[in-house]
């Protein structure tokens, strides 16, 4: 990695999701040199696994295509994937980042021709589909993957499969001897955009995510609805593959709950409202969506979207935190128990499938890596003005995509202020 040049005027962006990509591109287009680090083998992050965005119901890949084109065409950006930041030391204008580069076992020669994938027979759970599908152990992470380069999963190292992959490649791109490597990068400022992860639904025990096949999470439902997903967009139940026409959406699954996440994750109401439109898209008037909520948080113009969904007769709203879920073992149906608190109506509602609108938590505990201030949930707070590490997107707050991009853009200016100060001092 000798070709990575980083100086005190470099902005390092950690995380290659929508926030990190935005930060990198915006900074580079302002004339700054950027190194973009991503832990996964390709850019895109959490949003690339979404079927559509609310409220426009457009596809995340659309904006991603633009961002990738901006990024590919900009020589000021250097992208390192499978890069994990271990430690950040120093101060604003003079940081040293210790970064581990995990081996891909495929080098730059890769043309993404797919020969290694065809050669390999071992299959592994596909993280892009949250394990709901399997893929070859030599794989392109997604159709939009950038870098457009295959990955050899370490699980097949030392097996005949690995050798087959190597033999299949005409371009000497498979390199099974790659080793993890730790490098040190200089930076004037750091934009920390490591994003969020879905709260572990199994911890919400009354909902039985760990016990009932037909209780899934909202992020899994995105994959299920996506024509490129594990079921080619058929909304079916994991237990038996039956079409799930009657679906329950449980809000605040983990959020707004002192037993789990104390904050409101902001996006989940809108995400569920959006997912009711997937139901209508698939099943038309046959769809039955029930949203169990405490407060519907469709803030600002999103209210329009809420009103639109409310007007859909296939969607029902119940003001109720579901008490618990049981499973009808004979049919696999899930039965939600609780009380509609608007007027006290007790229910035991049978559904084909239950979707938990799981909350957001920061995907990386940054406290062990860098000296930054975080709130009780682990989100980065805007620190004193002399710092040079700035949280962006969902590393800084529970945000939707639009606000994440705003946050990333704002964090770029803060980083630019630091490196411009350095540039001035360095003359």
């Amino acid at each position: 990695m000798a070709d990575v040049v980083a100086t005190h005027e470099t902005i390092v962006v950690v995380g290659g999701g929508i926030s990190g990509m935005t930060a990198a591109v915006e900074a580079a287009e302002t004339g700054k040199n950027v190194i973009l680090l991503e832990r996964a083998p390709s850019l895109g992050g959490r949003v690339s696994q979404l079927y559509k965005y609310f409220p426009k119901l457009c596809h995340p890949t659309c904006g991603m295509e633009i961002n990738l084109r901006r990024l590919r065409g900009n020589k000021r950006i250097k992208v390192l994937t499978q890069a994990e930041v271990r430690k950040i030391e120093g101060r604003a204008g003079d940081y040293k980042l210790s970064v581990t580069l995990h081996p891909r076992y495929v080098n730059e020669n890769c043309t993404a021709c797919g020969a290694c994938g065809e050669a390999v027979s071992a299959e592994i759970p596909n993280p892009f589909d949250y394990g709901m599908s399997h893929m070859k152990a030599a794989y392109l992470p997604s159709l939009m993957a950038y870098p457009q380069r295959y990955v050899i999963d370490p699980s097949i190292l030392g097996t005949a499969d690995a050798e087959k992959a190597k033999a299949a490649c005409k371009y000497s791109a498979v390199d099974l001897d790659m080793k993890p490597e730790t490098i040190t990068l200089s930076a004037g400022a750091v934009v920390w955009a490591t994003g969020w992860r879905p709260y572990d639904a199994a911890k919400i025990q009354p909902y039985g995510y760990d016990r009932f096949a037909n209780v899934i999470t909202s992020v899994e439902f995105e994959r299920l609805s996506d024509p490129r997903g594990p079921t080619a967009g058929r909304i079916v139940r994991p237990s038996d593959g039956k079409e799930a026409r009657n679906v329950a959406f449980i809000q605040c699954a983990g959020s707004r709950d002192r037993n789990h996440l104390k904050h409101c994750s902001r996006i989940c109401c809108m995400a569920s409202l959006k997912q009711t439109t997937y139901m209508r898209e698939r099943f038309g008037d046959e769809a039955q969506s029930t949203v169990y909520y405490i407060d519907i948080r469709a803030i600002d113009r999103f209210e329009d979207f809420y009103q639109k969904v409310q007007a859909d007769p296939t969607v029902r709203f119940l003001k109720s935190k579901v008490a618990n879920i049981t499973e009808d073992e004979a049919t696999g149906d899930v039965i939600l128990h609780g009380v509609d608190t608007e007027g006290y109506h007790r229910y035991d509602n049978r559904h084909d499938l239950c979707v938990l609108a799981v909350g957001m938590e920061p995907s990386v505990d940054v406290r062990s890596i860098a000296d930054v201030r975080v709130d009780a949930s682990g989100f980065i707070e805007l620190g004193p003005t002399d710092g040079g590490i700035f949280g962006a997107g969902c590393a800084a707050n529970a945000l939707d995509v639009n606000r994440s991009v705003q946050s990333a853009t704002a964090s770029v200016l803060r980083a630019v202020q630091v490196v411009n100060r350095v540039a001035k001092a360095e003359g």
């Binding site: 707004r256 037993n259 935190k321 608190t341």
Partner: protein, 207 residues
């Protein structure tokens, strides 16, 4: 008792919530409810509640004093603690329900014939007598609390259980006389009396 009720109603006029906060065990939590209803849905005897906990909390805020205190609802609590562990606001709902029942009972507003109220009273009196529960005396007392005839009928209905327990040596037929209880009965009586006094003083019951 009626006097205490009037006095309390006067003291906290128009603000039942404040009355609950001051006088009901864990009553200060009532205001923290966000009306999600998880407690109401979690209660094993849920359908038996005319007003489930979350609704009771709202009624308290809305000042529906009589409706709440005269309700049978709180007496349906089985102390299973489902509501407590699921409440996203960590309200000690079980205790609040107990507290409300106890308060209603102290004010004399609790439904007179509510079986749980009556059982609970007998139970406490039984344990307080010797410091330990005397099971046979408690059972008999419960059967016969509505008079001899009903008592016999109840005991007859339950006879198989009694016989089973006797056979299994899990019921002492001579417990009326042989039950010993604690040695320091007097001390316990004094202690409970004192506790009651302190509580009455704190809650303004010492009329």
């Amino acid at each position: 008792m009626g006097d205490i009720n009037t006095a309390m109603a006067e003291q906290y006029r128009n603000n039942f919530l404040k009355e609950v906060e001051a006088n009901v065990e864990e009553g200060q939590w009532v205001k923290m409810c966000m009306q999600c209803g998880v407690c109401s849905g979690s209660c094993p005897l849920g359908p038996a509640w005319e007003h489930p906990p979350q609704e009771i909390f709202m009624m308290i805020r809305a000042g529906r004093r009589d409706e709440v205190l005269k309700s049978e609802s709180m007496w349906m609590c089985t102390s299973c603690y489902n509501c407590i562990v699921r409440c996203p606001r960590e309200l000690p709902i079980t205790h609040i329900m107990h507290g409300l029942a106890n308060y209603a009972h102290r004010l004399g507003l609790a439904p007179k014939m509510n079986p749980t109220r009556r059982f609970a009273k007998k139970f406490w009196n039984n344990l307080a007598k010797s410091g330990r529960v005397n099971e046979i005396e408690l059972s008999a007392g419960l059967y016969f609390m509505d008079g001899f005839k009903t008592g016999i009928a109840r005991a007859w209905a339950m006879k198989d259980i009694g016989i089973g327990m006797l056979k299994a040596k899990r019921l002492n037929p001579f417990g009326f006389v042989t039950h010993k209880g604690c040695k320091d009965k007097k001390g316990i009586h004094r202690m409970l009396k004192k506790a009651r006094e302190i509580e009455d003083r704190r809650k303004g019951f010492a009329a």
